[in-house]
């Protein structure tokens, strides 16, 4: 491959046209993930700021390299409160899409400082790595072109009395944040698998290792603590899946295997290991999903297709919504029920329409699909 060809592919990959709706949804998803991480870490950050750490806590400031180079030290109140407030405001503006690019840039910088500061009090973790890279890439893309107050305002204004501008569908640089997040995730999974083999050797997959790691957390569910052979099988699958994850770039269809596998892996590990929910990494897997097609996808399976499809997909989507809401917001169970309702309502609505259409001798109209 000549350098010229390589450069063109590079530029097409990073700066080529992409769906603006997908970018906008991704912007909102990433900022919600940032909000989750920032709010989760607030207690420890405010304790340090208020110097209210008790005698029974061992807390030392060991800054990450970036903060060390900046000469950053833990700050007291009210500086921490101001930073926290500014961060929440930037995230909120970014989600709403007001001064979108500026808000995303501010959110990226402050999120990096907030999470980096939290990690400097304990030890850094891996779940926020794709989030940070994705956030920093957002301002370089036209993130405010759709699903934003900025876009609504500029379309209403139009130009010199002409009709309001039609919303654009695609634009250059729109894929940049999603691509950078995708590649970061792929690098992470690959080196996770490679490190296990390089450091632990092939014996890492002996079954006892995975069993032992789960047991460090407590009693693993589903009898995994008693099944060495099953753990060995899962170990092989885990390492192979991690090592081969970059194949998602070789064939798009492989995403139908690797992305659900990653989702299931992090769900299972959150239940069986001391890794935590890895919620932010989980959410960044949405970079592989055609987000703008999700509503039509759900409607297709809940409304247009037959009962079997509704029976299968309604619980899946309801549980997925339930889990995301619970993990992200730790909301009370009553509110969680709200997340269960829409998929079942849609499925019931589709079923009623199909029944009426069958009774009337006609197929359900596709115009009924929301």
């Amino acid at each position: 491959m000549s350098i010229e060809v390589a450069l063109r592919r590079w530029e097409r990959f990073w700066f080529g046209e992409g769906s603006l709706v997908r970018l906008a949804v991704f912007r909102i998803v990433m900022l919600v993930a940032a909000l989750h991480g920032v709010v989760n870490y607030r207690r420890a950050m405010f304790q340090v700021a208020q110097e209210s750490t008790a005698a029974y806590v061992d807390r030392r400031w060991d800054p990450i390299l970036a903060l060390e180079l900046l000469g950053a030290e833990p700050v007291g109140m009210p500086a921490t409160a101001v930073v926290y407030g500014a961060l929440l405001a930037a995230i909120a503006l970014g989600i709403l899409g007001l001064f979108t690019r500026t808000a995303c840039a501010v959110a990226a910088v402050l999120t990096f400082l907030w999470i980096g500061g939290y990690y400097s009090l304990g030890q850094p973790h891996h779940d926020c790595v794709p989030l940070v890279f994705g956030l920093f890439a957002l301002p370089f893309a036209p993130v405010g072109a759709r699903l934003s107050l900025d876009a609504a305002w500029s379309r209403r204004r139009g130009r010199g009395g002409e009709a309001p501008l039609a919303p654009p569908e695609r634009a250059p640089y729109a894929a940049l944040p999603l691509r950078l997040t995708q590649v970061t995730i792929a690098i992470g999974y690959f080196f996770s698998g490679a490190s296990k083999l390089a450091i632990g050797g092939l014996g890492w997959m002996n079954g006892y290792t995975l069993q032992g790691i789960m047991l460090e957390f407590g009693e693993p569910p589903w009898g995994l603590g008693d099944r060495v052979a099953l753990c060995a099988f899962l170990s092989v699958g885990l390492v192979v899946a991690q090592l081969t994850f970059p194949l998602v770039f070789a064939a798009r269809r492989l995403r139908w295997f690797y992305v659900p596998m990653a989702v299931v892996f992090h769900f299972v590990s959150s239940r069986t290991m001391a890794t935590g929910s890895f919620f932010t990494l989980w959410i960044t897997l949405s970079s592989f999903v055609a987000l703008e097609r999700v509503p039509a996808f759900c409607a297709e399976r809940l409304v247009r297709r037959g009962w079997l499809s509704r029976l299968v997909w309604a619980p899946i989507l309801a549980l997925a919504t339930f889990h995301v809401l619970r993990t992200c917001f730790e909301v009370v169970p009553g509110v969680l029920a709200l997340g269960l309702v829409p998929p079942f309502l849609l499925a019931a609505r589709g079923g009623l329409r199909a029944a009426r259409a069958a009774a009337g001798g006609a197929a359900p109209s596709s115009a009924a699909v929301p």
Partner: protein, 463 residues
Amino acid sequence: MPRAILGTLALLALGTTPAPAQNEGAWERRDEPFPERRQRESLRIGPGARLVFRDGALGLRRRGEDVPLPCASPGGTGIVSDVALDPAGLVFVAAERGLFVFHESAEALDRVPAEEGAPPGRPDSVVVDARRRVWVATDEAFGVIDPSSFDGYTFRASDGLEGGGPFRVAEGPEGAFRVASSAGTFLYRPDLAPAPRVTMVELAPSAGAGAVRAAPGRIELSRVEAERSVALRYRVDGHHVWRPLVPPLAIDGLAPGWHEVEVVALDRDLGRSEPARARALVAAPPAMTRSVVVSVALAALALLVASFGAVALRRGGARALPRGLLSAAIAFCLLGQVVAGIEPHAKGWPFIGFAMYCYRYERGDVVHDAGLFALSDGGHARRLGTSELGTAVDSRWKVLRPLIDGGAAVAERYAADRRARFPAFRPAALQVRSARRRLTPEGAVVVAPLVLAHLPLEARHVD
């Protein structure tokens, strides 16, 4: 060469002194015969759980029902000769095939490993005192074990122990112990001598002013002196495990930066000195020093900017330059992540690498799961979340370690703060406990936990 002789030579090389002063008044010959072994039918070990004794074997009764009591060690326990209950709830069993430990939360008896200084031989009798020291008499030796680490000390003639095996031990009056040997019956009173003391800890190479600049990844203890001690232990950076201090005195595998080494001296009764502390600055490997990392990163970034910028200018003129610079930034991010994946370092976050959970477990290994427990007066244990007071950040050890080191005072403070948030919180004791599971082909077997700290509280909860 027997370990005891090697250990003695090591101690002399380290500059520790034997402790003849401890023998004054510690031993008293008794004319009465050694008391007969107490015959028990059962022993309560926890809420609803009893050990049942039958013809030299142990059984378990839970809530009135007899259940099997297997042994996690091949070959079982053999004939059981004695049992002792620890204030923290552990049960120590002296048996034909060794010393075993059990807990009401365990599924099987587990052999106590023969760690540094533990008395060798076949155990005959066992006593646990109020300070949770496990006194063991075997057919060869008499000694004491620390149940939080299973290391200990074996008494010698220089400690005032007369005669040889077989030995027996039983409780005596007022905290003393009856010890029988081939020379007769004696009353041993521990803790009479002044506490041991570490008088010098010297790290190498010295850089003056109390600090040491050590080699990459390593700290060397060049000299340690102590008074009234028979053994030394060390730990690094407040780790909860104190390790035996034996030559060669080098601690490897340390991350770059400042590290604190603490050394304590132990006397024969496992009395511990105040820790002596020394600090050392462990150098980073030359390629990982901050100046090199930052210089290389800046050089790489400059090279990428120059390359992509030049290409952009050639292909599209000044208008394409921003795209070239962005390409350089993207390439820098990807290159940094790949380099971190090969040479991970946590301080480089978000260029952190992904070498987590790369260690291995093998068959027979023990998996630890440490936690904080609240115990009621009735012995019920409830695990507490260490992050509920917003304190643990990312590691439970940031709460567990201060509780282990701080003792009762820190435990009371923790309990008071927790009670302020949860008013019904009034346990009889806090316990830092490391649950253990032994990995076997048939699955993980729950064995007795390590109780790292047992902290009775003043405010009590009654079941």
